[in-house]
Subunit: 140 residues, 2 copies
């Protein structure tokens, strides 16, 4: 089996009615941990679902995010990235190649509460720099 959990059930648990397209998008996110853009997801799924529309991918991702099934990552100024792993972790963006890597925490960092009467629904930790592959390793 590709996936340890049943994708339809996962969607239903988030109040999302499964469909061929929704299952495909979620499956793609669960099996590709590259934090893809909507366009990348569309490009990967279109060959298998020839009738797929880019609007559907956007609609689907928007629904997933609204239902808390997917995390919307805004670290990349070139466009939105999406993560099927909604657990608490950070993200590192390589500003050279655009690669986006997970940064898992031994213990989640303690972030101060937001004051001023604002109601926080989510906190995210973003790192930017140059990834090991692009040369971050060697250069001092």
């Amino acid at each position: 089996m590709k996936n340890p959990v049943n994708t339809s059930d996962l969607l239903r648990r988030h109040g999302i009615r499964p469909s061929v397209q929704r299952i495909a998008v979620m499956d793609y996110l669960l099996t590709h941990r590259t934090h893809p853009t909507a366009d990348e997801i569309y490009g990967a799924l279109a060959p298998q679902i020839p009738t797929l529309s880019k609007t559907t991918v956007y609609n689907t991702l928007s629904l997933f995010v609204a239902q808390g099934a997917v995390t919307h990552i805004t670290i990349d100024p070139r466009g939105s990235r999406f993560d099927g792993d909604t657990s608490v972790h950070g993200h590192f963006l390589c500003t050279e190649c655009g690669g986006l890597y997970d940064v898992f925490f031994d213990a989640p960092p303690v972030l101060p509460q937001v004051g001023g009467g604002h109601k926080t629904t989510q906190a995210q930790v973003y790192y930017k720099g140059v990834c090991a592959h692009c040369g971050g390793k060697d250069e001092k």
Copy 2:
């Protein structure tokens, strides 16, 4: 005086040669703590500098960010926001009104280092939710 520091000197200290346009953009950022978009900055300065081009605003902001004189905030999926305060602090985005607020820390949060040989140049903490003005205060 509007500004405690001389804007030209501030630019020079970051290796940026001052110009009428650059001073105006930096001044705007230093006196307006709303984390404006390029478009907002252009709209605010255009009346005073009639020849100002939007491309210049983009070029200028890009230069400021590259030289570390301004922070590029990517929390808002609708577009890039900019902050003339480069000190360590977080940001809260109201997903209703788009308002972007500073979150100052008593002590900077301890963020785990990024492993994997990646070279980190910057870390940012983003919060999302509903601001006090939009109703975050009342609603449980």
